[in-house]
Symmetry: C2
Subunit: 307 residues, 2 copies
């Protein structure tokens, strides 16, 4: 099976306590694609500028990612610069140049129309909903968003949530979206907005999935996947998008979508997020093997496994 | 088997978004004792004032806790007042009246001398070390501390850590004690100070145990126990002490102290912490059954259990 991802491709400048890098190929769609490519066929919809050439195309193509949906526009690719201090959970944004991304209107190539899985990375909610509506054969849609849309485009976001199966956001975003500070109660409020499942990303503490009653099987208990405490966190950028790539990519590789599969997907999300942060930019995601992924999956499983 | 706990008994005034309570029997030794009492015989060493009478004694005695080590001094019992806002992880201290606790010099009753397990709740580090040295038959010592001693009595604390088997502190305290912001690296630095194991409490995200190489068995992987996301958090006070009570109490009930036992203990810690926060003060810890504890243990286990 295959998955379409719609989102940003960017060049990042990142500084962290471990060093810095300039102009590295990044963006949500890039991290997502590379992470998901170890599980399924990935197809990207994005926009880039004239500074995106064969060198960047190869990063995707080496991982077998279909980039026929990457539109080349006049001007420069989206650029973002950020600095991490000792608290690696929060970046200080140094600059955001949207460039060609400002006028992004996702177009779905004919060749992508038979795709069954869709991930709407963090873009304007109405654009997300439009893409979802144009794709007729979708079995499952995942979606990301951020505070900027939760506060600034709430009505549009609520419309989008009605056509989304799994929403993947962090603790703060969940509380803000629900207007509720208790996390489990906030989760139930968000599920009432439309999604069948809500994945709450806890950064270095892992992630919890909450299910709507009756969705993907029976029961009402949430499920938690830990992340391994990593000794070498060089660059946290893209951890959440890589998490989404592992989670959605694994789902797209499965015939059945039941709770056991979603639990495993949550672990694979944590695995891919943990690899992403070990190097600057998406470097680590370009050179993995399925064996390395399975080995870390086992370590994560044992991290919380009682006999 | 039995366990001695040395620490504070207090009367608390607590306000949280769920309400408030005044003059409730509290303090680290109280929360610890009640939580541990479901697993083992508990013996308390503490000091109280003239305002501590039969009503308070009964709270301990109903749970079979031995209070012959509670010293009655002239004056008032330790009083603390705190307020929680929407962020339930942090209390704003409204007042701290140490009262008789200021002159606390732990004395070990003869009847406690055969005890094999010891928990040094958060008191001045030299007092902790003195108690440890006076007790000759101890198999395992657990210890808590706080920022106040890490910054203000570092030398004394480092001496204490040399005679401690398991240190239980939170993320911030671990980083501060190690002078290192990466948590796994900080953990290894703390283990080099003496303890065989370090339990790092992550609040609502559970806890991770790191082992010194070769301690309690082989292997070098840490272990994580989650906490159940709780919908009703009324009063977070005492969560850490109740965690310690569940953790140490379970250990004291076991013949062998190997890694599997320590992992289970970590889960029982999370279970007792999660019960403690459901009501104001230690009320919930007074009325539990072992069946309720086992039922929650199973829920926690399934929260992260992959088949």
């Amino acid at each position: 099976m295959s998955i379409v991802v719609v989102g940003s491709v960017a060049f990042d400048d990142v500084t962290s306590p471990s060093g810095s890098i300039k102009g590295v190929l990044a963006g949500a769609a890039t991290y997502f694609s590379l992470a998901a490519s170890y599980f399924t066929q990935v197809r990207v919809i994005a926009v880039v500028g004239e500074d995106f050439g064969p060198e960047q195309e190869q990063v995707f193509q080496k991982r077998g990612v279909d980039i026929r949906g990457i539109e080349h526009a006049k001007g420069k690719t989206f650029r973002w610069g950020g600095t991490y201090g000792d608290n690696l959970n929060e970046a200080k944004t140094d600059f955001t140049h949207l460039n060609v991304f400002e006028g992004f209107h996702p177009r779905i190539p004919k060749e992508y129309e038979d795709t069954e899985f869709l991930f709407l990375a963090n873009i304007q909610p109405t654009l997300q909903a439009n893409v979802r509506r144009q794709m007729k054969g979708i079995r499952l849609t995942g979606c990301d968003t951020m505070n900027y849309w939760i506060n600034g485009a709430r009505g549009e976001l609520l419309e989008t949530l009605k056509v989304v199966d799994v929403l993947l956001i962090n603790d703060t975003e969940t509380k803000m979206l629900a207007g509720e500070t208790n996390l489990p109660r906030a989760a139930h409020k968000v599920l009432a907005m439309g999604p069948k499942a809500l994945v709450i990303k806890h950064g270095e503490y892992g992630a919890t999935i909450f299910f709507r009653e009756g969705a993907f099987g029976i029961g009402h208990h949430p499920f938690r996947a830990p992340t391994l405490p990593i000794e070498e966190v060089k660059d946290p950028t893209g951890a959440g998008d890589s998490f989404a790539g592992g989670f959605m990519g694994y789902l797209a590789s499965q015939q059945e979508l039941n709770r056991e599969v979603l639990k495993r997907a949550l672990f694979y999300g944590g695995v891919m997020g943990s690899f992403a942060v070990e190097r600057f930019g998406p470097e680590r995601l370009q050179s993995l093997t399925r064996e390395e992924i399975e080995a870390r999956f086992q370590i994560f499983r044992e991290l919380t496994h009682l006999d």
